[in-house]
Symmetry: D2
Amino acid sequence: DRPLVFISGPCQIESRDHAFRIAAFLKAEAEKAGVPFIFKSSYDKANRTSLKGRRGIGLDEGLKILTEVRSEFGCPVLTDIHDIEQARIAGKVVDIIQIPAFLCRQTDLLLAAGETGAVVNVKKGQFLAPWDMANVADKIASTGNERILLCDRGTSFGYNTLVSDFRGLPIMAETGYPIVFDATHSVQEPGGRGGSSGGKRDFAPALARAAVAVGVAAVFAEAHDDPDHAPSDGPNMLPLEWIAPLLRDLTALDRIAKDRSLAAAF
Amino acid sequence: DRPLVFISGPCQIESRDHAFRIAAFLKAEAEKAGVPFIFKSSYDKANRTSLKGRRGIGLDEGLKILTEVRSEFGCPVLTDIHDIEQARIAGKVVDIIQIPAFLCRQTDLLLAAGETGAVVNVKKGQFLAPWDMANVADKIASTGNERILLCDRGTSFGYNTLVSDFRGLPIMAETGYPIVFDATHSVQEPGGRGGSSGGKRDFAPALARAAVAVGVAAVFAEAHDDPDHAPSDGPNMLPLEWIAPLLRDLTALDRIAKDRSLAAAF
Amino acid sequence: DRPLVFISGPCQIESRDHAFRIAAFLKAEAEKAGVPFIFKSSYDKANRTSLKGRRGIGLDEGLKILTEVRSEFGCPVLTDIHDIEQARIAGKVVDIIQIPAFLCRQTDLLLAAGETGAVVNVKKGQFLAPWDMANVADKIASTGNERILLCDRGTSFGYNTLVSDFRGLPIMAETGYPIVFDATHSVQEPGGRGGSSGGKRDFAPALARAAVAVGVAAVFAEAHDDPDHAPSDGPNMLPLEWIAPLLRDLTALDRIAKDRSLAAAF
Amino acid sequence: DRPLVFISGPCQIESRDHAFRIAAFLKAEAEKAGVPFIFKSSYDKANRTSLKGRRGIGLDEGLKILTEVRSEFGCPVLTDIHDIEQARIAGKVVDIIQIPAFLCRQTDLLLAAGETGAVVNVKKGQFLAPWDMANVADKIASTGNERILLCDRGTSFGYNTLVSDFRGLPIMAETGYPIVFDATHSVQEPGGRGGSSGGKRDFAPALARAAVAVGVAAVFAEAHDDPDHAPSDGPNMLPLEWIAPLLRDLTALDRIAKDRSLAAAF
């Protein structure tokens, strides 16, 4: 029942300078809205739709920049990892390591992530039911690390489309772990542009409002100063000028959602 | 941007006495919450899962009771119609006639409903995309009657399950017609009990909150004094004691949702 | 285990002359292939995507032409009905009356169809699971008429798309009623062209082969001499020159499928 | 247009003795049916639903047994790999390395698999459209290795359920690579038993017949002497006594499917 947390950043770490600019902007907006802020960015995009998609800045350089962002802005940092070795290395550096949705059933990766002792944010696979995430969390918790976040980023619905089933949020919350709603990947259209994924960022604020009204611990939404020219996830990332009104809406809704007295139901 | 309307009542008109008791209760709760109230109940369940499902009190008796509810409680009344003849008869009596989801593509029924001059609430077929509802509304509007409501009651998602895609609300709103979210049918599990439909009423309040946070004109939620023994839709109807806290949450969320300044997006 | 039946014809009865030409062609092809033939055509398209879609020639004229086709070509005729009155009238004239998929849960229509004594072909709603069709068949059979066919024409799969789940054929066959696979509506893209439905006829022969290999009593596939200019269902109807090779494939596959010894499974 | 290939074996390598017994049986049945046979078995189940699922015999022991199976029975062997290191090691030993469905978008794994020079069988992710597999194949082919097989094992359809969309087979075949239909994983119910996956093996023969009638290069179907007590995939593996009638049906259907003259369509 603690107040909403905001997880944001550009999809990729494009450069030290770019990461710093975006982090500075988001951190300032979050402070204005009175929302704790976590900076998210990726050093490698390991599962691009096609070979032509840009991969990223790499593990070493990426972790260096994330460390600097953390010390400069005093905010926790989050990044995603794709194999056991990366889990071990990144887990020593960042506050939260993230398991990508496609990899949320890979037992060894979950165990390695748990063993780092870092907070682990697991995205629900697009192919999984929300109740299946209890088994996923159990794999991580078997390492003794129960600092687990469960994150919804949409469920397969026909081809090249995801749907957000908001019943999934209270269902996953029954595990006792905090729930994150990923608003920008939920509006992705996987593979929807042939050689890359499409998306409809216009729907992300509405889905974020819905998630907060249902009740979540955090909203995850990637943001960029020029999303239409970003190297990945451009169609679904939010432009920076959307952040202030979005946080204003979400914090107001969150206060009501967390103040509910409706004990009989979710 | 007008304040939220609440549409509720028992799935079926079980008797004059029962309808009156539920209407009195709901009307009082709506007044306490400061929400306009519309009474909904059906005189015939024309598409039960199996023959054994109870059909209802019938057109003549049903319309008589609805008229009495309206004059007793001073609230508009809504009922669903299943063929052209019923549209003509009910359209003279009730304030809002409703097109069931399965019938939302039946051209002659839509035209007949439009021609009554009553407000027409059309439910989006479980088999339709939200953007397909513009064609449905056009059929009604071709009669000159533009008093149309578009209502989402869930979309087919695998077998015996519906999912609420909240992107559909702003998409349908692009038609310019007010949007209704049907919270109790959205949590139905069609045919889920073999000879009848199942449902999970526990999720209805969460989905209603989500819809209001996205932005809707009205929430539709059936209610009953003993839902577990109701002749239809028991598993998804709300018990009466859920209504007060639900309306408290929804009205608070609605004020924020309707006060948004986020012009760039939905 | 009787040999495959072929149900075909133009989606609409466009004129007496057109119906005769298509029936003559199809009947001749079916004879060459040694397949019993049933002529199908509609006198009214009651649920077009938009108002602009052409409706059809009407009940009286349509039934007259169907009667003439039957006596001219000596084949049973099938047409679909949309309300109780039409069921009563058409049921006296045609051999098989068909319940459209959207209407397969309308109890009164199913009862009226059963009461005609004609064979009733019910299409599985796109929103229904195959096991739900047992309840649908029971409604018809409650009239004493057990001359029932159950037909699969696809299931909702995301938006504007259907998928054919071939597990549904043996599941529906457990009712004991003959199963029909509708190959051309299964490749429809409902509402996929905005103001009308799209479709991909190229996939219809492959799906028909799949259905026959699984095991069905009949294949339903609409055909037209100029499908790209047909007033309805153009994108999914088959051109006439596809019929001969299709029937050659289907009859060969049917002999193997009906000769199976695999008693342990479907 | 070459005759059907049969890929089969127990889900896991349980022991050298067990692998030999199953391989001997399947090889003999394939010879009787005149079908080329490829032995498949896994040394590690890396993505079990829950931690309690048995993992497998391990890489070193598993590859040793697969090598012995190959030399004893003179059949190619196939196994799945889960990271780059495994790809390199297994790629030197087995004839076909397989990319699991969940991992089909992991670029580095696809490149590593391609670089081994072995044949690569990639399973289509349950979350991917069939046309998305062209990008997946391109990643492998970029290594210069075009010995690629594309395999369909079902697509997410609601929760805990897969559906086989047989349009996907000709769509994937447009890449020019041979298409494999995985009949036993297509009838899996992922996570359907809470702590493990369920499945309905009864439907596997019907879906295999459908795939062959549509046209495929190979059918993949896991088999076991006691599937109900197998350490993994029990509910969907085939008992050994189903193999002979299945191959009889499939080879007969394959002859017809590969002899088609229907040039106009798939």
